[in-house]
Assembly symmetry: C2
Homo-oligomer: 204 residues x 2
């Protein structure tokens, strides 16, 4: 892990404590699947801090069910029953965003993705969550459904102390430039190279 | 995520189902901290499958407390109370392995690390867990405390269907060669480059 001593101290007029308290924009990109997995690992730590966590999955299929969703639902229940940890909300585009009346899969993925982003924009303005996981969020930007400049500007202007983690392949350079922390997951070796298919518990 | 169609089908005489059921040896390496985070994310999925999970942290300090440990303790409780998910055991070298009588920090890290590996060897032989997270396990190998060839041979000979995930920088080439899946977490950008220190909930 990185050591606690920064390589240099910036001349930004902030104390170490102020600098430490800055909200982070984190991007997990690259060709490997660990991007989302690592983001959910961060959410685990946030849960333990008592943070309000909002997960927004920009996935097309309603059938996209990952084990993490069930685990975080259980952790949300723990929070509500015992006060330990924080509340977790989990929203998926594929089955119709839960805050809309339109249930079921939408044929118009572009409109659904934009609707998701509009809701996130509202929540950021209201400081609804401490940690936002925007899972697979690079894709609607890549496909032009959501404007990258608007995303960057909205995130830069977000009030308070809200952390945002964005996952997905091929993150736009403007998003990378705006991020505080960017991790690239690189494939060295994958079992599918040997003709194996994904397996339950490992891949989903 | 990777598509479900393998690039080629190996001539190993196995059916797709048999191949899919193969236990995996996964290595998360590289210079970034996402290694452990992604491993714990995998454990979340395993928990949801009802797997027995054993986490073994090869860390020196007893004070190394990550939020994940508390979250998994809560998930273990959920399992024991409701039957949802699987049991989780979490062992840390730094405070004396829990199965030994020697509590408190050991001055002899090499002996403590080897003792941890011996226990893991026993558990693999007994097929105790479905998923083993050997966190920061590359370090005792790098320092020569645990023999890499023995680790590779033991893992290759492990019975049943036990998945093993190893994290840590600078994984030995023999370990990489033996692994089914290797992910390297690469730093593109880190807030400590700007003189910021780690913050609660993000770094630990």
């Amino acid at each position: 892990m990185p050591q606690g001593r920064p390589e240099h101290v910036p001349a930004d007029g902030l104390t170490t404590r102020q600098r430490r308290q800055q909200p982070l924009l984190v991007v997990h990109t690259g060709s490997m699947k660990g991007k989302s997995t690592a983001a959910f690992g961060m959410a685990l730590r946030g849960w333990n801090q008592g943070w309000s966590i909002g997960v927004f999955q920009f996935v097309k299929s309603a059938k996209w069910r990952v084990g993490e969703e069930s685990a975080f639902h259980a952790l949300d229940q723990v929070h509500h029953q015992t006060g330990q940890g924080g509340p977790v909300q989990w929203h998926k585009m594929g089955e119709g965003w839960s805050w809309t009346r339109k249930q079921g899969q939408s044929a118009d993925h572009a409109a659904a993705a934009l609707e998701g982003w509009r809701e996130i924009t509202r929540r950021l303005a209201e400081e609804r969550h401490d940690l936002y996981i925007l899972d697979e969020f690079t894709y609607p930007m890549t496909w032009g459904w959501i404007d990258v400049d608007e995303v960057v500007a909205t995130l830069a202007a977000r009030p308070g102390h809200q952390h945002v983690v964005i996952t997905g392949r091929a993150a736009d350079p403007r998003l990378v430039a705006a991020a505080d922390l960017v991790v690239e997951m690189t494939k060295i070796k994958h079992p599918m190279d040997d003709g194996r298919k994904g397996q339950r518990g490992i891949e989903w």
